[in-house]
């Protein structure tokens, strides 16, 4: 007589995978994004089904995506980086100036310069946060002022005009491969790299540990300072890359480029499931959050709502996201406590 153990429903690996995907935060916002696109397209087919519409849909959020990914990495370590907007502006203007002052400079050099400068600016933030033990909010508040001030002082009333940039560089901003904008492909490649790093490399997983409980991470022997500095350098470097791409996309760079991007990036990350208290969330969520935010911006006028209400929608979404996080966290802790009590 065979005694096969009865299978409890819902515990097979396939079922677990399905339930994991279905309840993942990222699935929720992908659904919201698809919903918005569908509703907007029903209202006005050119939203999606025109070459301009499709291109703009993919292209415009790709800059914010880079900044949001960097911000997500910093938020996961239980910090925040308010200076990314200023870094984007500074590197965008630097890009323009490099092309104007050093004619014939290869594109690669400009890209590297932007990323390196962004990384250095991020390093300043990271070092101050790690070694001075001051909350990142305050440090990056100060550096946000400082970097923006340097940007405006350097630019003065000049600006970089589209005609100052070489055509090959600007083509990057508008070029397409198989109908998908180059900038989007670049951003997605960076996204995949970041996601892989956070999930598969030890140093990436350590960021989650530091965010969940910095004291425990320190006692466990993790090199907390080094990881935090690394997170800020990454955020700065990604913002630097976004700045270079900003110049490619918009052509004209005034001294207020990137203004306000830090709050958009934080909003995108929070909506995408990255908890502001650290230790939770993925860069996929932040990326989808960035797309969601900017697609709402474009969809509102189509739906007849003045796009002045976009900021209110973003604020409501952020609040909704953090309340949802809290509700889920409370439920999770109650479930764990119950399991512990019943000795399972």
């Amino acid at each position: 007589m065979s005694t096969a153990t009865p299978v409890r429903p819902g515990t097979s690996p396939a079922a677990k995978l399905v339930s994991h995907v279905a309840t993942a935060r990222e699935s929720g916002i992908v659904l919201a994004l698809v919903l918005i696109i569908v509703v907007a397209t029903l209202n006005n087919p050119t939203f999606l089904f025109s070459s301009d519409g499709f291109r703009d849909l993919l292209l415009t959020p790709s800059l914010l995506l880079l900044v949001a990914v960097g911000q997500a990495i910093v938020i996961i370590t239980r910090n925040v980086d308010l200076s990314v907007g200023s870094v984007v502006g500074l590197t965008a203007y630097l890009t323009g100036r490099l092309f104007i002052d050093v004619p014939g400079l290869p594109l690669v050099v400009v890209f590297i310069a932007g990323i390196v400068v962004g990384g250095i600016l991020g390093f300043v933030n990271g070092a101050l946060v790690a070694y001075a033990k001051v909350p990142a909010l305050v440090i990056t508040l100060g550096t946000m002022y400082i970097y923006r001030g340097i940007n405006v002082a350097w630019a003065g009333s000049n600006r970089v005009n589209a005609s100052d940039l070489p055509g090959s560089f600007r083509d990057l901003g508008t070029g397409q491969v198989l109908g998908i904008p180059l900038l989007t492909i670049l951003a997605v490649v960076v996204l995949i790299a970041a996601a892989w790093y956070l999930r598969n490399l030890r140093s990436g997983r350590e960021l989650y540990a530091i965010g969940s409980d910095p004291a425990a991470a320190h006692l466990y022997g993790l090199k907390v300072n080094r990881r935090i500095i690394g997170a800020f350098v990454t955020s700065g470097a990604l913002a630097g890359l976004a700045g270079v791409l900003y110049a490619a996309r918009y052509g004209t760079v005034a001294s207020n480029a990137g203004f306000g991007w830090e709050l958009q990036a934080i909003g995108a990350a929070v909506i995408g499931g990255v908890a502001i208290s650290g230790g939770v969330g993925t860069v996929w969520g932040a990326a989808i959050g960035a797309y969601l935010l900017l697609t709402i911006n474009r969809a509102l006028p189509i739906l007849g709502i003045d796009d002045f209400w976009q900021r209110a929608v973003v604020g409501a979404l952020i609040l909704g996201a953090i309340v949802l996080d809290r509700v889920l966290a409370v439920r999770q802790s109650r479930k764990l406590t119950a399991e512990r009590e019943t000795g399972r």
């Binding site: 070459s51 301009d52 009333s157 005609s163 005034a254 474009r298």
Partner: protein, 347 residues
Amino acid sequence: MFAFTRKTRVGTAAAALALAVTLVATGCSGGSAGGSAGGDGGGGNLAITFLPKNLGNPYFETSNKGGEEAITEFGGTFEQVGPSEATPTSQVQYIQTAAQQGVGGLVISANDPSAICDALDEARSAGVKVVTFDSDTDAKCRDLFINQATAEGIAKAQVDLISEQIGDSGQVAILSAAANATNQNTWIELMKKDLTANHPNIELVDVVYGDDDDQTSFDRTAALLQTYPNLKGIVSPTTVGIAAAGRYLSTSAFKGKVALTGLGTPNQLREYVQDGTITSFALWNPADLGYLSAYATKALIDGTITGKEGDSFEAGKLGTFTVGADATVLLGDPFVFTKENIGDFDF
């Protein structure tokens, strides 16, 4: 935690020292920022400050240069200040600083017709002559207004251009600057009247505001083209707006299908005229506008004119000008730029 004491003082004293050194350095070199007021009060104070809608705007850079040229000619001192965004609130601080510095004249392009009135009145009671140019305020809070062309003329020029380019029928939209800008709003009202009266087949579907910010104008153009698929023309009575719209249009599927015209500077739009995105547009010479404004301010300062109708004064290379009604001085007529003549200009 309450025992931060002696060491705090040492640390902050060092910071204070650094701060003091900075201040002394900037205070001593304050003159390098563009000129110090030469002599206080009286009819001889030819320190003139230019305060455009915002800095970083090529149109105002040109008008500032014109003003500087005039001021150098008659031996005054020139200074240019301005906010980075075109809002009235940010202009108030600069007006106040000018009043405190005791400059002879303030030449301003207003972001709002009435919001800065109080600040301007305070400046005038401190002895500063207030001259508006390009964008006016209420007549009671300024001494003189230098108008580039009659508002009717500017509006008519743009309506004529767009109707010519779209065959006098179809949907058009307007991409303006800031929602409260006096000059754009005056022109838009006149354009609407002209369209209703003389072009019944043209439908104005929307007026959107780009805030004289390049990226905002760029994004607004994209939104316009998407929201109104049958749009045939865009009119942009602001140099920042038309440049951003041209940049978007020239890489879009609508290039050549949607007409774009308005007020723009030749240097910014040359590329789009040459690749066919823009057929023709209008403007006047902003440098002449700045030049005339500076001379008018000088005339006010040294008492040659008081702003009364009929007063006349010399404006260097531009000739003699007479003050018209409402203390307004007219520069001339708008000029139309096309592919043929755009190579002759450099501003």
